[in-house]
């Protein structure tokens, strides 16, 4: 319950990024003016062009999981500042202002839940918390919930949204690529299904580790998925990137995604997939 209270503010924050105040909002993709209630009913997708608005963990819980089944776990794991990192402001201050503005305790939320009555381990990343970046806490919570899936012998489903590794934790954050993969190696040995849902955007250290290691890798339509961010690539090659580059449809075409699922079909398809295992 406390979790719900804390995240209510978060939902508003997430949505505010793409949506101005008021009853109406404009689709950033096709320009359609959408009534906000209608947008909500459409699970935050544009009825005209299918643009998937970025949403938060709370919305995904509502969309995918059995109502009331989610119970958050590992909330006691919090960021330290092992390197006393200071750039334009200290890392500790950055974290404090993130806790305040998002109501979240980290860039990942983990817990147990049910889908169509089946127990699952569930994680969802929060892009609005320092760009969904992976530091020690994301790595540890990922490890803990994966271990939970392993101990209970239940599937593990994660929703990814991340700009990459957390620079303020330097080499520690880089090591999380190996840490998260190490526990996935254990899951693989014990035939624990691991299902990844990539949402907009998933790049950097997350895509170069657990994001690309699912037994089944799903993406939402239009999600930006890649290793390097588009701006870095443009700077390197000194030309504009083609339309649709690194979007889910492009990644699927090149063979690195299993399927793309519209948000409103996500739960139903997940049930079918879970039933296969």
């Amino acid at each position: 319950m406390t979790w719900f209270l804390r995240t209510k503010k978060n939902i508003e924050e997430t949505i505010q990024k793409e949506m101005p105040d008021g009853l109406w909002t404009k689709c950033p993709s096709c320009g359609e003016i959408i009534y906000k209630r209608q947008l909500e009913e459409n699970l935050f997708t544009c009825h005209k062009c299918n643009h998937h608005f970025r949403i938060g963990t709370k919305e995904y819980i509502d969309i995918i999981l059995d109502p009331g089944s989610f119970e958050e776990l590992f909330t006691n794991i919090k960021s330290a500042d092992p390197l006393n990192f200071v750039d334009s402001k200290p890392y500790t201050q950055r974290l404090e202002s993130m806790y305040k503005s998002t109501g979240l305790n980290e860039a990942i939320t983990t817990g147990k839940a049910k889908i169509a009555g089946k127990d699952i381990a569930f994680a969802s990343m929060n892009f609005n918390f320092i760009g969904g970046s992976m530091g020690s806490v994301v790595g540890e919570k990922f490890y803990q919930i994966a271990k939970y899936a392993l101990d209970k012998k239940i599937p593990y489903i994660i929703i990814c949204a991340s700009g990459g590794a957390r620079m303020q934790e330097a080499a520690y954050s880089l090591m999380q690529l190996a840490k998260t993969s190490a526990i996935l190696a254990e899951l693989a040995e014990h035939q624990i299904p691991y299902i990844v849902i990539l949402t907009d955007p998933t790049t950097g250290g997350v895509s170069a580790s657990f994001g690309m290691l699912g037994d089944i890798i799903i993406a939402e339509p239009g999600a930006l998925i890649g290793f390097a961010g588009p701006r870095v690539i443009e700077q390197t090659i000194r030309r504009k990137l083609p339309q649709g580059f690194q979007r889910a449809e492009f990644v699927l075409e090149h063979g690195f995604l299993d399927l793309i699922i519209h948000r409103k079909n996500m739960r139903e398809k997940l049930i079918t997939i879970l039933n296969w295992f």
């Binding site: 794991i77 330097a170 993969s181 190490a182 290691l213 690195f256």
Partner: protein
């Protein structure tokens, strides 16, 4: 060796050295032997004083020194019987990664390294050590060869990052790195990783998971280069020195952080000053590290490797 790059902090040493050189020539006609010896002593003192007090940014510069030994230099001088094996058997041969079969003091093994060039031409061929997915997949198929024939693996990290380009993305750069990382958590043969120059980000750790992580004294290893870190966090390219300090990316830092196991000492002035000495130092350490690993039962070896990475990171439990 073509380049004669002199870093700022090397200048006082180079100046004294050329002075000695001049005096030696004079020494043929005048008796100044004693003065030469004194000056040589002074150079040694100056050298050790300078190199013991390098800033982090200066170490980054040393790590990038174009005269530093590179993967192929270590492979050719530390190992014997090296046969280079090309290609990923999927798409093409990526010259930014080299590898093959070799022997270390008679022990058959697999060696894989990220390979930079030594001049403009070879750097273009090697893509400055920035590999495409096929580079990681070449490494992977060599790892599989090691696994199949139960041979230990040595990897050498020296990259400014995985290449951020259109084709690299099309061919699944992220997947290639992720696949290598998880496979390296599964292989049952000993893996020794050596950072010999630059260890930048996912591009480096894509061949960087092992039982023992060694780092040469004048190298760096982090999630991002100081320049890119500066441009993102300070929104300017001018804060690379501060970024290097903040990232705490030197061998000494990473040892303190519990991320690497061993700092491999370099000859004073850096590996490029006395490469032959460097090869001997590294060979001895590699052998010392390898032998105990070879007697650990496979299951235990894998578990230890996974646990090693699983405990990495710093967090608070409330």
């Amino acid at each position: 060796m073509g380049t004669k790059l002199i870093l700022d902090f090397e200048k006082p040493i180079i100046e004294l050295e050329s002075k000695i050189q001049e005096m030696r020539q004079l020494g043929e006609t005048f008796d100044i032997q004693e003065e030469i010896i004194n000056l040589e002593k002074k150079v040694e003192e100056l050298r050790s004083q300078i190199y013991q007090n390098l800033t982090r940014w200066q170490r980054v510069q040393l790590a990038r020194h174009p005269d530093r030994p590179q993967s192929l230099d270590y492979i050719n001088n530390v190992f014997t019987d090296f046969i280079e094996l090309h290609g990923d058997r999927r798409y093409r041969d990526d010259p930014a990664v080299v590898g093959g079969i070799a022997k270390l003091d008679g022990i058959s093994c697999i060696v894989v390294g990220q390979q930079k060039g030594k001049d403009t031409k070879s750097n273009l061929l090697r893509n400055f050590g920035m590999s495409h997915p096929e580079g990681y997949r070449k490494a992977l198929r060599l790892f599989e060869l090691a696994e199949k024939f139960d041979k230990p693996i040595f990897t050498f990290l020296d990259t400014p990052g995985a290449y951020p380009g259109i084709e690299a993305e099309e061919r699944g750069q992220a997947e290639a790195i992720a696949r290598n990382i998880i496979r390296m958590c599964q292989l049952t043969v000993p893996i020794i990783v050596v950072i010999i120059g630059e260890g930048a980000s996912g591009g480096a750790i894509g061949i960087g998971v092992g039982d023992r992580i060694l780092m040469l004294e004048n190298t760096w290893y982090s999630v991002i280069s100081p320049e890119s870190c500066s441009s993102i966090l300070w929104r300017s390219w001018d804060f690379k020195e501060q970024a290097a300090e903040a990232l705490k990316l030197t061998a000494k830092d990473l040892k303190e952080q519990g991320i690497i196991d061993i700092i491999v000492p370099e000859p004073i002035g850096g590996a490029h000053r006395k490469p032959d000495e460097m090869y001997l130092i590294l060979k001895e350490i590699l052998l010392n590290e390898l032998r105990p690993l070879m007697s650990i039962p496979k299951k235990e070896l894998v578990k230890k490797r996974r646990d090693k990475f699983i405990q990495m990171g710093v967090w608070i439990t409330e």
